[in-house]
Symmetry: C2
Subunit: 366 residues, 2 copies
């Protein structure tokens, strides 16, 4: 079996190997500092007794699960601490496909490319539901696409790549569609700390046994390399998910869990506010420059991304490589995110050089 | 689908919840110190620039892959850095089952219980090949069991739970059986640093496109909670394994990779020798005491474990709980490792209280 491997690492490698200065706007790696308490947690961990270097509980360190559960208003038993959001989504989708309630996964178009890749790997099939120009998902379109064959509906809010934030009404209706077909709504909320609209609504606001919420500290704490995330399962689905987690990974890295727990407890809200402020400023800077260049673009309500369309320059891998070599700006080809965005290029605003990148693009497309 | 979840964590929880002092000999968690350079690596990592907290390459940090490859005599391209030995075995078994070359996995009896659990999870079937009283595997028995349906042969040397170390001739013949049926030999060598016999032979000594070697730093560096391991694939199988790794976990924790790399470079061989010496002494202490108690036992050539059989006291979960409550010694039920060891209890010699544990057992069975 061959899976479609997401292109992120390939484009990053190409950009790193370029013969010139390239501004990296490929992947959602924050360029700002992790919380001081996260660094401090790693330092503290390094000096712990030997037994603290051994297996944590498979489902996660209890204090961390309790801290997550308290913040999310769920029972700690529902929480599995995972190797980042990646494993959280993998466990959620595996659970959906193993319930003997369909083999189809409903995804959005555009889509975060790991979801279709995971679907194929897990033996499921993908059906894509289009979104509006501003990235909103119409629940009635999802209702029309859903059937007895639907195992799960996977959404991402705030959304990568569109920047859309789904309102509570959408989340409520998506859960209802899942319930109507004995499917699961899987809501990937990894950008929840980067809601720029104050309209973000977690799927947890809708009480149901038919929704799984996934998340991670990768973006909120600027530590995509730490690999600590979590999934919140309905009580009757969590045991099987814990089994798969144990059989695949045994457990999630313990120094990472220790550091995240320390950061959750000790980080002032100002840390998160500052990061949102910075992101807001970058959105304005980048989109103002795109205005000047005459490009069409999306203005995100959340997450890190701006999609831009340049006249006569479709979002192919080839064109993205050309932008790297000739303009010195690395983005992601829109075609990586699905049919609807083949004309677009995605730029991640996680570099202090956003203004310079925009100037380079303006000059290149002049 | 329900998988058989290995019992380790359940028994550990029972032991931890006991109302009395219990000597923990359940799981293979070393009780000795990690290398000083590993702790130092974590401290150094805590002070790195923000970009070092972001995604490492999915297949692992290049310098770590190069260091592993140099030590194992393979191409760095063949190395995937995994979330511990657990993920390494998962990737290896998934690869074997997805080659359209059979759905059966040949395992030994007794067996490390994660292997049959992973097999079921991955949609394969298990066939068990018995081993001799001292844990040796007769390659001709494997040859007799193998067929066109065989996707993989999974072995563990030095062995958990028997302590057997397979000689080079065995490894060579196992690879030949795999080749004869277009199957893969998967050799889990996580206890390679605890060969007490000097007869350990890695499957890497046999050049073949039909073998995968898995390993981890969990045991050799006494860091089962760090979750850094690796798998070495034949060149034509590695790309698909990297894809699955990316789709399941995205990447392996970066501070862990940094710390392991530092420890690989800076740790004197005396560290590993000291740990082997300690283990050898514990084997003598424990088995001498078992002699006194009249129990039958295995004397390991490698790994951490002694299997003991007490008259009229089969190795059930119930009896193991009784030993926890009444003798204050926690082991693993032999029945967890397969049909052939239902009469036995496994004790992990990873506590400084080995002598005391043996005395408690002697007293209990008097």
């Amino acid at each position: 079996m061959n899976y479609e491997t997401p292109l992120f690492f390939r484009v990053m490698e190409y950009a790193n190997a370029a013969d010139r200065d390239v501004i990296d706007m490929v992947s959602g790696n924050p360029d700002w500092d992790p919380p001081a308490a996260l660094r401090e947690g790693l330092r503290e961990y390094a000096d712990l007794e030997p037994d603290r270097f051994q297996y944590p509980p498979s489902e996660g360190v209890l204090e961390l699960r309790e801290e997550i559960a308290a913040r999310r208003g769920v029972d700690p038993e529902q929480v599995v601490v995972t190797n980042g959001g990646g494993e959280a989504n993998y466990l959620a989708m595996a659970r959906a496909l193993e319930r003997d309630s369909g083999t189809e996964i409903l995804l959005t178009d555009p889509v975060y490319p790991y979801y279709p890749g995971k679907t194929t790997m897990l033996g499921g099939t993908q059906t894509f539901v289009g979104t509006s120009a501003d990235g909103q998902l119409d629940p009635s379109a999802v209702r029309d696409a859903a059937s007895a064959e639907t195992a799960a509906i996977v959404v991402n809010t705030p959304n990568n790549p569109t920047g859309a934030v789904y309102p509570e009404g959408t989340m409520r209706e998506l859960v209802a569609v899942a319930e109507a077909h004995d499917a699961l709504l899987i809501s990937d909320e990894v950008y929840d700390h980067y809601d720029l609209s104050n309209r973000f609504a977690s799927a947890l606001t809708v009480d149901s046994d038919h929704r799984i919420v996934t998340n991670a500290f990768s973006k909120s704490m600027a530590v995509t390399g730490l690999r600590v995330g979590y999934a919140i399962f309905p009580p009757d689905l969590v045991e099987a998910a814990k089994s798969r987690h144990m059989l695949v990974n045994v457990a999630t890295t313990r120094p990472g869990q220790y550091a995240v727990l320390n950061a959750l407890r000790e980080t002032p809200t100002e840390y998160y506010e500052r990061n949102r402020r910075r992101l807001r400023e970058r959105v304005v800077t980048f989109t103002d420059a795109l205005d000047a260049s005459g490009a069409e673009y999306t203005s995100p309500n959340g997450s890190f991304y701006v999609l831009a369309r340049f006249d006569g320059f479709p979002g192919t891998l080839e064109n993205v490589m050309r932008l790297i070599d000739d303009a010195g700006v690395a983005g992601m080809p829109g075609e990586a995110f699905g049919e609807s965005k083949t004309a677009w290029v995605r730029f991640a605003l996680v570099t202090p050089r956003v203004e310079e990148a925009a100037a380079r693009l303006t000059e290149y497309f002049e």
